[in-house]
């Protein structure tokens, strides 16, 4: 095993991990705002990937920048709509009712994709095609570097949004204590809708970054489970945890796939997740007594 291969796989792993981080952040924001896990998150990723690959890029010939804007706009509206349908009517019901409805939404969507975009996987070149950059012996897919850069920029934007803007601060207030926020005159419903929109945009961007790297099919929904696993590994509910967990999981996965077994990589990643639940259920960055009742 030489160093070049190691570095190469590390970059690939980081890129994969960035995508998981984006999905994981989507879970985290919704979890913090309303205390539920959106089981359709993975199918949101698939939707954006299809929308970008099959429609915007392959059919309409949009460039990457325009597609990005288009997908983000669509996902924000879609996210708010989803909140209306699967969360809002059930906000006083038990969380398990909401989980059930988000799960049903996921099934609804993934079967709808097959109707809209057909049963066959779609491929798209993306902005860089199969372009490769060489650093000495190390050759890296441009798309992978691009994923890392875009995710980096996105994380900074998210941070600025939550720290510097009034809307972002309001959303943090709602996430910390919904009742108190209501008493302070914050329209919690609106902020919850925007939280769903924000999580959907993150899932959407994960989808379009992923599309050129994989064949786009409903099986991409698996990214949802990986994003969730990232949350658990990093520490559920922790924003930094979601990011770190995602990057860690992506890296582990790529290493397992290239040095152990590509067939059973999902099974091995799942075993790691079970191990975490057993040994450190609060995740890497979670607090010891972090289990809320």
């Amino acid at each position: 095993m030489n160093v070049a291969v190691l570095v190469q796989q590390l970059i690939n792993g980081l890129a994969m991990g960035c995508i998981y981080s984006l999905v994981a952040l989507g879970y985290t924001f919704i979890w913090n705002a309303v205390g539920i896990v959106n089981l359709a998150q993975g199918d949101f990723v698939t939707m954006a990937a299809f929308l970008y690959a099959a429609t915007l890029s392959n059919k309409l010939g949009f460039g990457f920048g325009l597609s990005l804007l288009g997908v983000a706009a669509f996902m924000s509206v879609f996210g708010m709509g989803a909140e209306r349908v699967v969360y809002s009517p059930l906000k006083d019901a038990h969380p398990r009712a909401v989980m059930l409805s988000t799960m049903a939404l996921g099934i609804f969507l993934s079967n709808l994709y097959i109707i809209v975009w057909g049963p066959y996987p779609v491929t798209t070149a993306g902005p860089f095609g199969q372009g490769v950059i060489h650093f000495g012996e190390v050759s890296i897919l441009k798309q992978n570097l691009f994923v890392i850069v875009i995710t980096g920029i996105l994380l900074i934007l998210q941070w600025l949004f939550f720290r510097r803007t009034t809307l972002g601060k309001t959303m943090r207030a709602v996430a910390q204590d919904r009742e108190a926020a209501t008493l302070m005159g914050i329209e919690t419903h609106r902020t919850i809708a925007i939280t769903f929109a924000n999580s959907s945009i993150l899932a959407g961007i994960a989808g379009i970054l992923l599309a050129p790297l994989f064949m786009v099919s409903v099986d991409l929904g698996m990214v949802g489970s990986k994003g969730f696993a990232s949350c658990v590994i990093g520490g559920f509910g922790s924003i930094i945890g979601a990011t770190v967990g995602g990057i860690l999981l992506g890296t582990i996965e790529i290493f397992v796939a290239s040095f152990l077994s590509s067939r059973y990589k999902d099974a091995i990643v799942f075993l790691i997740l079970i191990f975490f639940l057993l040994v450190r259920p609060q995740g890497i960055l979670g607090k010891k007594a972090g289990e809320s009742l």
Partner: protein, 330 residues
């Protein structure tokens, strides 16, 4: 509605469903509808299993088909590859699925959060890919053929009709068992955990034990359903145990009534038939199912059993009212 009235309604519903299932073969002549009928009974067993963990313990389980699949494969491999006796293979299947349930259930369910849903989604995909890829053991995409039918007291269940009645009898026995568990102290404790886990623990209940207990029952029922499924079709392949199948089980329970054993059987029977009638719609039927789930969960969280309970309450209230009026007129 009081406990006694609820039990009375449950008894009525279950008797009607089981009588209909007993009589149904008389009206069915050709092979295909018969196949559907058998599937309805087998699905009923799996949905009763799901009801343990989702209905009684309140934990959404999205991977019943995976456990069904493990049950099918454990049984089929033992019976075909190693030539085990049918019943011994069936028992092995229950044990194997029970171990898998423990393996997945313990780490997940000891936490107070609702992690089971997504853990089972992941487990579902992994089970399918392992069944597919481990060709040397599982037969890969080709699956396993020539799975035997059982024999009992010299009776050979090679005839589909006979096999159907065997499945139905098992289903009735498992129904009675589920009702017994529901009404036992374990059933009450499970409901307490579902309703308020913290309060249940403060009453001395070990919530982790109870949830894992429910999950293992779910596994055992799935194993029986998986065994019957494999033996009925005499063939298994990984493609049978999809996440769509898992989702169908959840739909059946939601449709029939979450938390109700007769609701589970009712929902499974009704939706299995409906699913076959809607088969020509291809993908659309799942789209419609999913949309229906959202509507049901918002407007009628207890499904058909909820509607029946409400109708019964209304009628009883009306009867009392008219009785009152008669008393007044006297």
């Amino acid at each position: 509605m009081t406990e006694a009235r609820k039990r009375e309604l449950e008894r009525t519903v279950s008797i009607i469903v089981f009588v209909l299932l007993t009589l149904a073969p008389i009206f069915v002549r050709s092979q295909y509808p018969f196949f559907v009928l058998c599937l309805a009974v087998i699905n009923g067993i799996a949905v009763m299993g799901l009801n343990f963990i989702f209905g009684f313990a309140g934990q959404l389980h999205m991977g019943v088909a995976a456990f069904l699949g493990i049950g099918s494969y454990a049984f089929s491999l033992a019976a075909v590859k190693y030539g085990w006796n049918w019943w011994a293979a069936a028992i092995l299947s229950i044990i194997v699925v029970g171990i898998f349930s423990l393996f997945l259930g313990f780490p997940t369910l000891r936490l107070k959060r609702y992690y089971l849903a997504i853990m089972t989604i992941g487990f579902q995909e992994i089970t399918r890919s392992v069944l597919m890829n481990w060709s040397s053991f599982t037969g890969g995409v080709f699956g396993i053929q020539n799975i035997p039918r059982p024999s009992l007291f010299g009776l050979q269940f090679t005839d589909n009709r006979l096999f159907y009645y065997l499945a139905l009898i098992l289903s009735i026995l498992l129904y009675l068992l589920a009702i017994r568990i529901e009404r036992s102290r374990f059933g009450r404790a499970l409901r307490a955990v579902r309703d308020d886990e913290l309060a249940a623990e403060a009453m001395g209940m070990n919530s982790t034990f109870l949830k894992v207990f429910a999950f293992i029952w779910c596994g055992a029922y799935s194993a029986v359903a998986g065994t019957l499924y494999a033996s009925f079709q005499q063939y298994v392949s990984p493609e049978l145990y999809t996440s769509a199948y898992s989702f169908s089980f959840v739909s059946m329970l939601v449709f029939g009534g979450i938390g109700s054993v007769p609701g589970a059987v009712l929902g499974a029977t009704a939706l299995t038939v409906l699913m076959e009638l809607l088969r020509f719609m291809k993908q659309w039927y799942l789209v419609i199912y999913a949309a229906a789930i959202i509507v049901i969960i918002v407007y009628e969280p207890y499904g058909l059993m909820g509607i029946l309970t409400r109708m019964r309450t209304k009628r009883l209230a009306a009867a009392e009212l008219s009785e009152g009026a008669r008393d007044a007129s006297l």
